[in-house]
């Protein structure tokens, strides 16, 4: 599925989104390398969601340009949607369908053939050790499993890049860590991971981290380099230092 031959899964230049007189995202430029785990942080209201919607082909930029998974975010948003994975903590699976039905539904939406869906289902069952849960309604599956299933479903079409929007919110510490081991696994297989989180210990697990403040990217580097630059012991301190200067009234 990886059509993209460039070394970057995402390249963005001067990306801007205005709503009336309000500039939600203000000329952001950055690249994300293939296979990188990229943490996308920012205070509430900094413009993260708006930026992410543009990257996923859900919102047209007011100005600026960018390529995601090898497609132009201005002219090929539909191709982007087909070639990325997306998972958010808030909505990911249909609670009233079984695990197996969810797998089939998402795989079908992504245009997979019946035989490919069968293989993918077997693989998910084996990897997550949940064959006995296939005919269980999602609302009856424990939250930790549900979240791993949601991740498997969001990457069922083997996208080159997956966007994870606060995937671990409210999840217990053990499951949160298992989830990150899944992220490491897909990343080691070459998938690019673009992830937002409010847990700043998770920022430490990223290859690089950007921090948005008032619509701009105020800092972008590896966690170690950011800690050195801001004289901080943890990413939590880095975040507080960078986000402290926010002027936007949320």
């Amino acid at each position: 599925m990886i059509k993209d031959k460039s070394p970057y899964a995402i390249t963005v230049c001067g990306l801007t989104k205005r709503f009336g007189s309000f500039t939600a995202v203000d000329h952001i430029s950055f690249d994300v390398a293939q296979g990188e785990i990229f943490g996308f942080l920012g205070a509430n209201g900094a413009g993260k969601t708006t930026a992410m919607r543009m990257l996923c082909g859900l919102s047209r930029p007011t100005s600026g340009s960018g390529m995601v998974a090898g497609y132009d975010i201005r002219t090929e948003p539909e191709a982007i949607k087909r070639h990325i994975g997306y998972m958010s903590q808030r909505f990911s699976l249909y609670e009233g369908l079984t695990a197996g039905e969810n797998i089939k539904l998402f795989a079908t939406v992504y245009g997979m053939t019946d035989s490919a869906i069968g293989r993918a289902t077997d693989e998910i069952c084996r990897r997550l050790d949940m064959a006995d849960m296939l005919s269980t309604l999602v609302k009856e599956i424990p939250i930790g499993w549900k979240q791993k299933l949601a991740f498997a479903v969001s990457t069922i079409h083997r996208p080159g890049i997956v966007f994870l929007d606060e995937p671990t919110g409210g999840v217990d510490p053990v499951m949160r860590r298992r989830f990150w081991e899944e992220i490491y696994r897909v990343s080691s297989e070459g998938m690019t991971v673009f992830v937002t989180t409010h847990y700043l210990d998770e920022a430490e697990y990223c290859d690089r981290v950007s921090i948005m403040v008032d619509g701009r990217i105020a800092a972008l580097d590896s966690p170690d380099a950011l800690k050195i630059r801001y004289g901080a012991a943890t990413m939590d301190e880095v975040f507080r230092t960078v986000a402290r200067d926010a002027t936007r009234n949320e």
Binding site: G42, A43, N44, G45, P142, I143, E166, G169, G170, V171, D172, P173, V174, M175, R177, W180, Y184, S188, H198, Y199, L200, D201, E204, Y205, P223, D224, T234, M235, D236, F239, R240, A243, R244, A246, N249, E250
Partner: protein
Amino acid sequence: MTAAIATEGLTKSYGSVKALDNVSLNIEPGELFGLIGPDGAGKSTLHRILATLLKPDAGKAAVLGLDVVRYYSQLRDRIGYMPERFSLYHDMTVMENLRFFASLFGVNIADSYPLIAPVFRQLSKFPDRMAGKLSGGMKQKLALSCALIHRPEILLLDEPTTGVDAVSRSEFWDMLGSLREKGITIVVSTSYMDEATRCGRIAVIDKGRVLAAGTPDALTRHMSGKLYNAVASDMFGLLTRLRKMPEITDCYTFGSTLHLITTGRFDPAGAIGYLKAEGIADARIYPATPGIEDIFIQLTRDD
């Protein structure tokens, strides 16, 4: 002294799911008490029972010495409750919402203003904005103002900081600290384990059960096994190697380091030697101070 909140054997099921399983807690007047646990732990169910909005299947709960089922109507005047979901009127302005809640409780805003001022101050700049148009942080402040408008003795806050960024969360906890100083008993639930340190006492909750309760310090002091940090340039390689060592009972990521729970036989120098033989030459292992997350991981590991 009567406990501000006392529950005994509180149990509540939804169909086959046991949301609360024999929960007994005592919360003293003036405490800032934290219910710490992940989604699905039972925090909201406990809050709803204490707020007199839900009846338990078994067990008892008393707030301010009054049974929550029998004296629900008296209690509602004395309890302030902020549910997890924003539950103000989106199509009413900031001031309309505040006035509405004041009139429900038969109080006037001026009398309560000194109490809510620290929370409401930023909102007072745009009294005519629709509540639905406020940002997440501002909605949260308005909801807290409305929950405080009748000057309750008990404040029940259900996950007020979920989805809120680290800086705003910290400010919110500062506000709770100053409300506590005014003598209000506060029960606040959170799934952010690091917020436990902002509470006087906490109960760690999972799957409807209280796993441990006490001050955050006391809970971390009782951690069994010695805790170490481990770091190396190849963190994932380090993790998989360390998990193979029998003297390490658990090993997991913890921000920029790994945490190792060890048995008495663990020798850091020996471990460094083993890692060198396995091709990890730059590992460092040094003692770590446990936090509430470590406690939670330990308490739930055998499930």
